[in-house]
């Protein structure tokens, strides 16, 4: 026993002495950095923080595929994808500012806490200068706040809450994806044509920032055209069975069910709703209908036949015919043997936009990147002409209204484009009440 204690003490002693000895003669080169994680070597590291587990895991894995593809294209490998159609020609396929692009990945677990921990580790340990990803607005808002504090750029992936570029907007954060307000503005006219202006809607809403703001937007837009909102029930994000929420819909007198759910949640709630036979019911003399305001190919694939005829909206779809879309779908398809989802698209585009902004700014300094992205107008990325608005860092572009295909020809052909809503129809003022309350603050370059 006594032998052991001396050994341990000896060990510690020698450790201390050794450490001090090592430290003594060496010159401390701790220098004042210009900004957080300034890349000094021949490489630059990007952090891809996506949900690999949890209700949004499918989306996260597809985002990761697209991010890897974007890195390939930035480094000049593969066929270059959208670099060939992008209106800005600053990127040369030799990395960013001559530095080869590397990436690290993290799992957000679709939880704010875990997402912040993994983003922190990418920033603190791996030296990431930019974090891209998300698939839940709760996570995006949390990570955006973290990036602002840490002094790195956050290029939001799939986040659809109004708050991301509304009350929680940050100077270091940018969103390419559309939001709840835009979905509502695009959907309302289509819903009116399809189902009439005299409907009673019942909302099931994911209980967090995205669900809240999307429900608010859809309710406002549909009420403006004459619909009545019967009830809004909040469901926890971690739910997997929605039967107990669906049953009361039957007795509520509602004739439309709006599912403000996404990912695995939506697959389960829609399946439950179909099992309850909601779509075969006639209520108030009208056919019962289901609306899913935010759609994705992966959800449609997960829900299978249940999505037939269900209307929703999307940021982008692989079936678009412009050059940018075709170039991206081609290189994604060649690499992975499947068409990309709209979450994959937004992450791919965000990564290229960040690289392009660095290239144009001539620096990785977040403040330079912010200046380069604010008010940036571009084209050739699959959405037509797009503006990155300086006031709130939100992209403005056309919105797609989609419908589940009645007779799909293959497993990826699940949705069809009903209408491309022009950008002018979904624009709003930066101080719109649904987006009020936050401020961008100053850009933070960190250390």
């Amino acid at each position: 026993m006594s032998k052991f204690t001396t050994t341990r003490r000896g060990l510690i002693k020698s450790g201390v002495v050794g450490g001090a000895g090592l430290a003594m003669p060496t010159i401390f080169t701790s220098s004042a950095f210009g900004y957080t994680n300034e890349p000094t070597g021949s490489t630059v590291t990007l952090g891809f923080n996506v949900p690999q587990t949890g209700p949004y895991a499918e989306e996260g894995l597809d985002e990761l595929r697209a991010q890897e593809l974007a890195v390939e294209h930035l480094n000049g490998m593969g066929d270059g994808g959208m670099l060939n159609t992008f209106s800005s020609k600053a990127l040369k396929g030799n990395g960013i500012l001559g530095k080869k692009v590397q990436f690290v990945t993290g799992d957000t677990q679709t939880k704010s806490d875990a997402a912040r921990a993994s983003a922190k580790s990418m920033i603190e340990k791996d030296g990431a200068v930019m974090i891209n990803g998300g698939s839940s607005s709760g996570v995006a808002v949390a990570v955006q706040g973290l990036c602002q504090e840490a002094g790195v750029i956050f290029m939001a992936g799939l986040t659809h809450s109004n708050d991301t570029t509304g009350k929680d907007k940050k100077r270091n954060g940018f969103r390419h994806f559309f939001n709840g307000y835009m979905s509502a503005a695009a959907l309302a006219p289509v819903l009116k044509n399809a189902y009439g202006s005299d409907r009673r809607a019942y909302h099931l809403t994911a209980d967090y920032t995205w669900g809240w703001t999307q429900q608010e937007s859809i309710a406002a837009a549909t009420e403006a055209m004459g619909w009545e909102t019967v009830n809004n029930v909040l469901t926890p994000l971690a739910s997997t069975d929605f039967s107990s929420y669906i049953a009361p819909v039957l007795n509520s007198g509602a004739d439309v069910l709006v599912l403000n759910h996404y990912g695995g949640n939506m697959v389960n709630s829609l399946t439950n709703a179909i099992q309850f036979g909601l779509r075969d019911k006639i209520v108030n003399g009208k056919q019962f209908e289901i609306v899913v305001p935010l759609y994705s190919e992966l959800m449609a694939a997960g829900a299978g036949k249940n999505v037939e005829g269900v209307i929703g909206s999307m940021n982008w779809n692989w079936q678009l015919q412009d050059d940018g879309t075709q170039a991206f779908v081609k290189s994604f398809g060649e690499k992975y043997g499947r068409p990309p989802s709209n979450s994959a698209h937004t992450c791919y585009v965000q990564t290229l936009l960040y690289a392009d902004a660095c290239e144009r700014a001539g620096t990785f300094n977040p403040c330079g990147v912010v200046d380069a992205l604010e008010g940036f107008e571009f084209d050739g990325m699959g959405n037509g002409p797009v503006l990155y608005r300086a006031e709130d860092h939100q992209c403005f572009k056309d919105v797609l209204v989609m419908k589940g295909k009645e007779n799909p020809t293959n497993e990826y052909d699940t949705l069809e484009i009903v209408e491309v809503t022009p950008r002018a129809q979904v624009e709003y003022a930066p101080d719109h009440p649904m987006f009020a309350g936050g401020e961008l603050g100053a850009c933070n370059p960190g250390a």
Partner: protein, 402 residues
């Protein structure tokens, strides 16, 4: 020293040295070497090591000494975090009121829950604490209480954060990040020594100092008459009751102390990163601290710290091993073998790290019921036997009085 006997003093000094030198020990691999991936010396993870160390030390006071298995301890950690963030929102970013309130609130919650749950023992106690914790989790996750009161209390799934328009009545011109009287928590000193890079974060050292204080307190409790009484409860509570002794005040006291440790840990989590999410109160988080304690060695002083370190390391480092990295590492092998090996290993890394943890936990439970501490003891006696200096077993070694 400080009222500790020689053995405990040495343990205390060893833990202190480990804690203070952690930024160096954990970044043992040079920055540009292939093994740098396994470094853990970055602020966020080091803070997690000591914060969950505090949590596990506190849990071990209850579980290790009395044998009462609380399955809802994460709830106290959660309320601690919420209390701390509310202090940031209402007063300012100084961590002192935040930490104090987080301990007080956790104590209040554990008093109430402990008073009710401790009416039963064994599995019924575990289930009661689990039920309370899940009730609190659901309340926080959907912000039921806040909704009922018409205010934002926990902000649900999004997590409670500080906004620019919060009152922060004492903020003035103070820093806009958590700080200790002006010393920012996220400030750090970076030393580049040759190929090594060492980060010395302020926040980590605050946590480390509080962890050492908690550890010292735990040693004192272990060695006190109060601690002896708790062990008596563990060995045979019925007999203790028959001797005419009311054991409930003792169990309740240690339950509250243990809850306060959890509250401190939760408060510190919020001080290092001012956001409180409901997930940290979920039953999986409660289960994690049980695993930490058992993995390290329940009822031992150092065990919980080792266990929490092992789990947090796996969670943060193993979970980042993606297939690309594995392909790089196994690239020297023939293609077929490489593919097969990567396929197997990738199931245990990345999002599959839980599988590694599960396997490790099973091995420890089966072969080392006393946790990593028992493993350390076995190795030590094996070495002593081999070197032929058969010193007497630890139990019979006389420990001199103070």
């Amino acid at each position: 020293m400080f009222g500790l006997n020689k053995k405990d003093s040495i343990l205390m000094i060893a833990v202190a040295a480990l804690a203070l030198l952690a930024p160096f020990i954990l970044n043992i691999f040079p920055n540009d070497s292939a093994l740098a991936f396994f470094n853990a010396g970055y602020p966020d993870l080091m803070q997690r090591f000591v914060i969950f160390g505090i949590f596990a030390i506190g849990f071990n006071l209850l579980f290790g000494l009395t044998g009462y298995l609380s399955f809802g301890h994460a709830a106290f950690l959660g309320v601690g975090s919420y209390a701390a963030v509310w202090m940031f929102k209402l007063l300012n970013y100084n961590v002192v009121p935040a930490i104090v309130l987080s301990i007080v609130v956790a104590a209040a919650f554990s008093l109430v829950i402990g008073y009710i749950s401790l009416r039963r023992s064994g599995i019924y106690f575990s289930i009661l604490t689990l039920a309370f914790a899940q009730m609190m989790f659901v309340t926080a996750y959907s912000d039921l209480l806040g909704r009922w009161l018409g205010i934002t209390l926990t902000n649900g799934e999004t997590g409670l954060q500080v906004y620019n328009d919060d009152p922060q009545i004492l903020l003035g011109n103070g820093p806009n990040v958590p700080h200790l009287f002006g010393l920012e928590m996220r400030a750090k000193e970076v030393w580049d020594i040759g190929p090594w890079e060492f980060t010395l974060p302020v926040g980590y050292y605050l946590c480390a100092v509080l962890m050492l204080a908690s550890f010292y307190l735990a040693i004192r409790i272990f060695r006190s008459p109060f601690g002896l009484m708790l062990r008596a409860i563990k060995s045979n509570q019925t007999r203790l009751n028959y001797t005419g002794l009311n054991s409930k005040p003792y169990t309740l006291a240690v339950f509250v102390i243990s809850g306060m440790y959890a509250g401190l840990a939760g408060g510190l989590l919020a001080c290092m990163d001012p956001l409180a999410g409901a997930e940290r109160m979920q039953w999986t988080a409660s289960g994690e601290v049980v695993i930490m304690t058992i993995l390290g060695g329940a009822g031992t002083l150092i065990g919980p710290i080792l266990g929490s370190g092992a789990i947090k390391y796996l969670e943060n480092v193993f979970s980042k091993l993606n297939e690309g990295l594995l392909h790089d590492w196994f690239g020297f092998m023939p293609d077929g073998l490489e593919g097969a090996l990567v396929w197997v290993v990738s199931k245990f890394t990345g999002e599959g790290w839980h599988l590694t943890l599960g396997g490790l936990f099973m091995l420890v439970i089966i072969f080392l019921p006393g946790g990593l501490v028992e493993g350390g003891n076995k190795i030590r006696s094996w070495i002593q036997n081999r070197t032929g200096r058969g010193s007497p077993p630890a139990d019979t070694a006389s420990t001199p009085a103070e």
